[in-house]
Point group: C3
Chain length 247, copies 3
């Protein structure tokens, strides 16, 4: 059983954060929250999303799992105006999701959850450094890095108390230095890892630019990026595996 | 003889409503009005446009017919700013149309009207149902239908006093229900016909979203869509042949 | 030695005016001004740009020459917000340009100036007619000409005291007549030359639409287009060779 009403903005924010990594996913419809975990086909980037029942206008669920095509669901949510409410109701017999937006009814065929890549276990890493910054700062560093390289290095300089976003190209280099004045918060620690820029660009697309993003980092360790949406009732965690540093 | 001055907006609205169906057309320059009738190459969609002499700043004509390339004429009209006046004058000897927009002169070679597809006779159908709605509502239904199918069904439910825009895809379905509260006006009657979405999408492109559109419908009959422009002095009627319902 | 601070807008305006003609150029870093001269690969269009030291927030240079990839430099400048300051500093040893924008550092590899096409001598022509008009008027004539032809004729009618921008296509013609009322200034003289529209379209892209442009013309002679930017402290001159009139 699943029946819910949610604002178009909240639903869209939730779907966008997952669709940057995968085309299809399982959605867990638990009593207390809706949740999604997914990993990209190369097993490099993961996402863990939860949206609290309180983020919905109304929410009833009893623990089922549905498989959805994210692009299709985003297109449907895109038919709503910002501020519109979207009604969702699962028909258990037909395995179809009924979606209503102000007079418009859409019947979406679901995907067999067993045919969708297994949900990843997101490891509980103890990462020594934590940087809290605005989405727009992260965006600036990623955009600059993309001008010169396919890789990006995220580094904390403990003595300077600064966070560096760096990229080395064949001829040109770029770095963005963010001191504790530029950052919302910094817990310095040994942290320097290299990442594929493609994945970070995809994750960055979904991160609202005005949002506070928490970046957990270590030495050649995965990075974790956390942010909230839906006024704190939605949580997204991205995890990205590091690349081996070549020099 | 043809000599006229018209606002860029009015001319553009008139041309756009025809160019969604055909690339070239005949324009009849009657004493009382300018008029265009055209049918697409597959004989599925027709347009009938009239623009009253009073919609022009000045208008003099004596019944000639010219053939024009619509895209070219739209490009020229696009050189005007909204609010600009466009002067049109036919040179009978050279068979060229002289167009002037604030210092800019354009000499447009006309097309021999005999080389253009014959104007259709638009049948005078007695359709039992009539729906009057905002262009934006029609647009919403067409956009949603386009997500799942190439066909669209327009239907009036007489007992519910509602107008349905519906589409059935291979896996997903969509429908927009508009009750008499959502509509500007509804004359219920037996009406349920299936149409090619491509044509309706083209017509929809030309229909201003804030305009009142009248939809005349029957049972497996053509649909007629009417709307006005140029403050009621311009009239457009589209007619679209139905597809055979397959189920 | 070169070290300067300049507003992002000023730098972008300067780079854009050159990049419409060439991909790479030499920049002369003189004590009094920064200057660029370049000619397109076909030797048809030239640009001569100078930006006074006073247009910079700070400027120190001693006559060096650097070679740059313009697209790359434009991308970097594009990372700044309008109103941001850009710091430039040449490292003589590494032959790299260090660019700083609010915490972001970019190290740009320079190009060996000897590998860049030689700077043209821009001939000091004594052209008999001079037209001063708004960039938007020139833009209007060029856009209209582009609808019918690959060539454009610029002509001064001495008796009418008017400037004509004209194009003749295979079937259609277009002309924009600008009288002394439409123009900012006109020094009439024998002037009528035909130009490649492609080049003039490229130059037109860089000319701000609200700017005063001075057009110097003769009879089958090159045209010179001058305009200022950076509040009069930057000067651009384009020169374009004429095409032979065929009729």
């Amino acid at each position: 059983m699943f029946k819910a009403i949610v604002s178009a903005d909240t639903l869209t924010d939730a779907l966008d954060s997952v669709s940057v990594l995968v085309d299809e996913c399982k959605i867990r419809l638990n009593e207390e929250e809706l949740s999604i975990r997914a990993v990209d086909p190369a097993n490099v980037g993961m996402v863990d999303l939860s949206l609290d029942a309180a983020a919905f206008e109304s929410y009833e669920a009893d623990g089922g799992v549905i498989g959805v095509n994210l692009g299709r669901l985003e297109d449907i949510a895109g038919m709503a105006n910002s501020g519109d409410l979207i009604q969702l109701e699962l028909n258990e017999e037909t395995r179809k999701l009924h979606i209503q937006i102000d007079g418009l009814s859409y019947t979406l065929a679901l995907i067999d959850p067993d045919s969708i890549r297994q949900e990843p276990d997101i490891p509980d890493l103890d990462l020594p450094a934590e940087v809290v910054l605005e989405g727009s700062q992260l965006n600036r560093g990623i955009t600059a890095a993309d001008m010169v390289s396919d890789h990006i290095s995220l580094r904390v300089d403990e003595s300077e108390e600064a966070f560096y976003i760096e990229a080395e190209g064949d001829t040109d280099d770029v770095d963005l230095k963010l001191t504790s004045e530029d950052l919302i918060d910094l817990t310095a620690g040994p942290a320097n890892s290299l990442f594929s820029l493609d994945y970070l660009k995809d994750m960055n697309k979904a991160i609202p630019k005005a949002t506070e993003v928490t970046v957990d980092l270590g030495e050649e360790f995965p990075v974790k990026l956390h942010y909230e949406f839906a006024e704190g009732l939605g949580h997204v965690t991205y995890m990205l595996a590091p690349r081996i540093q070549s020099d």
